[in-house]
């Protein structure tokens, strides 16, 4: 399973995702932002960071780079795409997942561990969890408050992937912090599964996200 990790100038969780994918048994490789042709790749992860410094709205510039075209054709071939943190913001900015991730309710960057509830197991990334399972992963973002105009539609289509299970630190709508497109193949999550991929770091609950990709 060749999993591409998209690198924008300013991505900073690329190496961490690489390590987690290796642990999960995948074959990760880096893909630079200007590569359009992703036909040799089986799945893609857009890692966290501050693409192009994110001096504008998070993800605004990354969303108009050539690699996004490649990701769109990957989607047409029904290959899975996971956006983590800045990656999630980029997917929302492009419109590949519904809703937006906007400024946290306290207007500050928040880094902390959170309890999360797995809301659906129909995406490749959550296929190895149980529905309703509570898992531990950290968040680290300034713009992660989820908002969408048509929440009922998401519920009807089973597009809510993760919710904060106890505290809702960034003030997200209905504590939602992970969503997918209608097919379930494109998934955007604010928490960092790669940072919860080894017990010694606090939890390995996140590793199944990557195992899910590898086993897809």
């Amino acid at each position: 399973m060749k999993v591409g990790i998209i690198r924008f100038p300013g991505s900073n969780c690329d190496r961490d995702v690489y390590q987690a994918l290796e642990l999960a048994g995948g074959q990760p490789e880096y893909i630079w932002w200007n590569q359009k042709d992703l036909s040799q790749i089986d799945a893609v992860v857009i890692p966290g960071g501050f693409s192009y410094g994110d001096y504008l709205r998070a993800g605004a510039i990354a969303a108009i780079t050539p690699v996004i075209e490649g990701i769109k054709s990957l989607v047409k071939d029904e290959k899975p795409v996971l956006g983590i943190c800045n990656g999630a913001q980029i997917l929302a900015e492009v419109g590949l997942v519904p809703g937006v991730f906007t400024v946290n309710i306290n207007s500050k960057f928040i880094c902390q561990w959170t309890d999360l509830k797995v809301e659906t197991t129909r995406t490749p990334f959550t296929s190895m969890y149980k529905k309703g399972e509570i898992i531990k992963m950290p968040i680290a973002h300034a713009e992660g408050r989820y908002y969408v105009d048509y929440i009922q539609e998401l519920k009807d289509n089973d597009q809510i992937v993760l919710k904060f299970a106890s505290e809702n630190p960034n003030g997200s709508m209905e504590a939602i912090t992970g969503v997918c497109d209608q097919t379930g193949l494109i998934c955007a999550v604010m928490p960092h599964p790669e940072r919860a991929s080894l017990t010694i770091l606090g939890s390995d609950d996140g590793l199944k996200f990557f195992k899910g990709i590898v086993n897809y």
């Binding site: 100038p9 300013g10 969780c13 987690a20 501050f50 410094g53 500050k108 960057f109 770091l201 606090g202």
Partner: protein
């Protein structure tokens, strides 16, 4: 301008003529205290700097010490006090930027940041503003570059109202075989300037940092503050790592204080070489910059690579990939001169070692008169006193600060902020502990014991995590060294620090001196910030939270009646007076060794928690262990090892050094107690949901402890 008459005489004698105005500016910054360490150098010789594991000691961009067979630790610390006083957001951000470049210059990937911050009281509006924006500056910069901020400390005191202290420590990891140095050994090699363009910011940043601040500084000195760009920094970092992987470079150095002048002259002088720079080659941010501005600019995010000319194309290709401006700006020569040319015409020509090695100044030092008006203090209610101390912003939880920092990126953070020290994964076997500490009040009351105490406390924090200290870095923040009383403080402090470092055979491998922390007559409390790194096996990592009901609580080390300079004295009586706790070298070492021996021999996890005693004494330590473990304890303190006339109240709040609290499995308690080769006693048992001190009428619910400890800073900053 800061050159003294005697320095001008010296310069004229050395070059046999008057320097021209460009040369004058270059000499001026290189002779500044910040670049030259001309006052501090003779005193810094007290420090032990050598050791079995030291690979590179003081003098390079960062210190290097061995971590494992393959890996080395690059570590450094820097102050950014003056810029942060004037422009807190930019000042703090570029402080991070500077220390990151120092670590990158050694070929290392920065893996951790720690900040030591000092501000005026939170009741003061301007202090809150400085605090909020310094933290935001660190957050925005460190988070963007993707370097976790894993620890630090914050102190609030009236004394720092006009002169906040912002010290930043950074650790990096580098395979030993990939180490690079700041050198230009080969004549004919070229200098390549890469990264941010050179602009008009930060001109005279170092001379401004080598003078006292005034109320007008906020307006007048703004141009001396550099502008940071963490996004470009991230690109510079990635490009640097790629260059070091692909190209055999002669040397690398970052551009920090003193800009191009400092960077190039030091690179050349270190190898007894010279340098020739062509000004028109330097990528500029704006038109019409004078040679003076270009050579003195401290624009950020710039690096110089020294390479054989045959690699120019290869290196440029890498910089193009990251869209970073870069240019060949000159070459290494054998003239021992630093020559600056403009369109081939020489406009400055100075001996490189005159720039890089100005003469030291032997400053006068004088012990100040002691204050003798000592007030006798009445005891307050012990329970209320403990709660008040827990709510003091200096002791209370710093979650408001560290939750704004990404402390998880790079997936190494084993122990997160909030414990004695941060612990980071080095490889699958080893981890390292990092801390930085200082007690400015002790140092004010007695610089020798304050300095020694800072090193002792930092070492205790490392030992408490189960790690063996391997090196020390220091950031010494003092007032104007031209004042004999300030210089005496400085000398005594360094002497104290050096004694502890020698006793633990832990070398001081890098550091920074920040003088002139004064504003209109107010001198900051002398603040020796001490960073220590330690190494351990994963299995030996311990934390401070109480674990299981029934665990037995043991104190190691003697308690003395040492209440002066304590958090109790300050918080409950608003008084700072007397003699601070003494550092007793042998005791400090004995206690540390006892703790490390226990952990090393602990194969079954019988040692369940370790914490040291420092600010707030035994009381605060026990409360912190209970709060973080969400478990109470029942304590009887009358039996603890002590000396002198010590009652239970003092035993609870005294801040004597050399003390640790350890919890152990109950069935092994007596056996373990016998093994400890230091003064020790069982003082209680973990369990329940209250902290009960039987012989001091303290009986507090966990909830009340937590309510006092958490949310304090948040209330001020809401």
């Amino acid at each position: 301008m800061t050159l003294t008459d005697s320095e001008m005489e010296y310069i004229k004698k050395e070059i046999g003529r008057e320097p021209n105005s460009l040369e004058y500016g270059m000499l001026d910054i290189m002779f500044s205290e910040h670049c030259s360490y001309k006052s501090s150098r003779p005193v810094l010789k007290y420090f032990p700097t050598e050791g079995e594991k030291v690979i590179i000691g003081p003098g390079d961009d960062a210190g290097i010490v061995e971590l494992t067979e393959e890996l080395a630790l690059a570590i450094g610390i820097e102050s950014h006090n003056h810029p942060s006083a004037i422009e807190p957001y930019g000042g703090a951000g570029t402080g991070i930027g500077g220390i990151l470049r120092d670590i990158m210059s050694m070929g290392a990937m920065p893996v951790a940041l720690l900040d030591s911050l000092r501000f005026g009281p939170l009741e003061d509006q301007r202090s809150r503003y400085l605090f909020e924006y310094v933290v935001k500056g660190i957050s925005d910069y460190g988070n963007r570059v993707g370097i976790p901020t894993v620890g630090g400390e914050v102190e609030f005191d009236d004394n720092f109202k006009y002169n906040p202290l912002v010290n930043v420590m950074c650790a990096g990891i580098v395979p030993k075989k990939d180490l690079v140095r700041a050198v230009a050994p080969n004549v004919g090699s070229v200098f390549i300037l890469m990264g941010g363009r050179t602009g008009r910011d930060g001109i005279h940043g170092v001379t401004f940092a080598s003078e006292e601040l005034t109320t007008a500084s906020e307006i007048e000195d703004r141009p001396a503050v550099q502008i940071g760009d963490p996004f470009t920094k991230k690109m510079v970092l990635e490009a640097t790592l790629e260059v070091l992987e692909e190209i055999p470079v002669d040397g690398v150095k970052d551009l920090g204080g003193g800009g191009l002048t400092c960077c190039i002259s030091e690179l050349a002088a270190k190898c007894g070489n010279g340098a020739k720079i062509e000004l028109t080659k330097i990528p500029l941010r704006e038109e019409g910059m004078t040679p003076y501005e270009i050579m003195l600019s401290e624009s950020q995010e710039r690096m110089v690579f020294v390479i054989d000319p045959k690699y120019i194309d290869a290196i440029m290709k890498i910089f193009e990939k990251y869209e970073l401006p870069a240019a060949v700006i000159g070459e290494v020569t054998d003239t021992r001169k630093m020559v600056v040319e403009k369109d081939g015409k020489i406009i400055a020509n100075l001996p490189a070692d005159l720039l890089s090695d100005p003469p030291v100044i032997n400053r006068e030092s004088r012990k100040p008169n002691e204050h003798r008006d000592y007030l006798k203090l009445e005891y307050t209610d012990p329970e209320e006193s403990l709660l008040k101390i827990l709510s003091s912003p200096n002791i209370a939880s710093k979650k408001w600060v560290y939750s704004q920092y990404d402390h998880e990126v790079q997936v190494r953070s084993i122990i997160k902020p909030g414990d004695d020290a941060a612990v980071l994964k080095v490889d699958d076997m080893k981890a390292m502990a990092l801390t930085c500490d200082c007690n400015s009040i002790y140092t004010k009351l007695d610089p020798y014991h304050g300095g020694a105490g800072a090193v002792s406390e930092a070492i205790r924090n490392i030992v408490s995590m189960g790690a063996e200290p391997i090196c020390i870095v220091d950031c010494l923040n003092f007032g104007n060294p031209e004042k004999p009383e300030v210089f005496w403080q400085f000398k005594e402090c360094v002497r104290g620090m050096a004694e502890v470092a020698k006793c633990f055979e832990t070398p001081v491998i890098s550091g920074n001196v920040s003088f002139y922390n004064e504003t209109e007559g107010v001198t900051v409390n002398p603040s020796p910030v001490v960073g220590v790194a330690g190494i351990m096996d994963h299995d030996n990592i311990r934390t401070s939270d109480f674990k299981d009901d029934g665990d037995i609580i043991i104190i190691i080390g003697k308690t003395y009646p040492e209440m002066d300079g304590s958090e109790y004295q300050k918080t409950l009586h608003n008084i700072i007076q007397g003699k601070p706790p003494k550092v007793r070298l042998k005791d400090e070492f004995k206690s540390a060794k006892a703790v490390l021996d226990l952990i090393r021999e602990d194969k079954n996890g019988d040692i369940t928690a370790v914490h040291d005693c420092s600010a707030g004494g035994l009381g605060v330590s026990l409360a912190e262990m209970a709060i973080s473990g969400d478990t109470g304890a029942v304590i009887n303190i009358s039996k603890l090892p002590k000396e002198g006339d010590l009652d239970n109240f003092q035993a609870f709040f005294s801040e004597s050094h050399a003390r640790y609290i350890v919890t152990v499995k109950s069935n092994r308690a007596n056996e373990i107690l016998d093994k400890i080769k230091a003064p020790k006693a069982i003082i209680g048992k973990v369990g329940g949901n209250r902290l009960i001190i039987e012989d001091l009428s303290i009986n507090i619910s966990l909830e009340k402890l937590k309510n006092s400890y958490y949310g304090v800073i948040e209330k001020f900053m809401a």
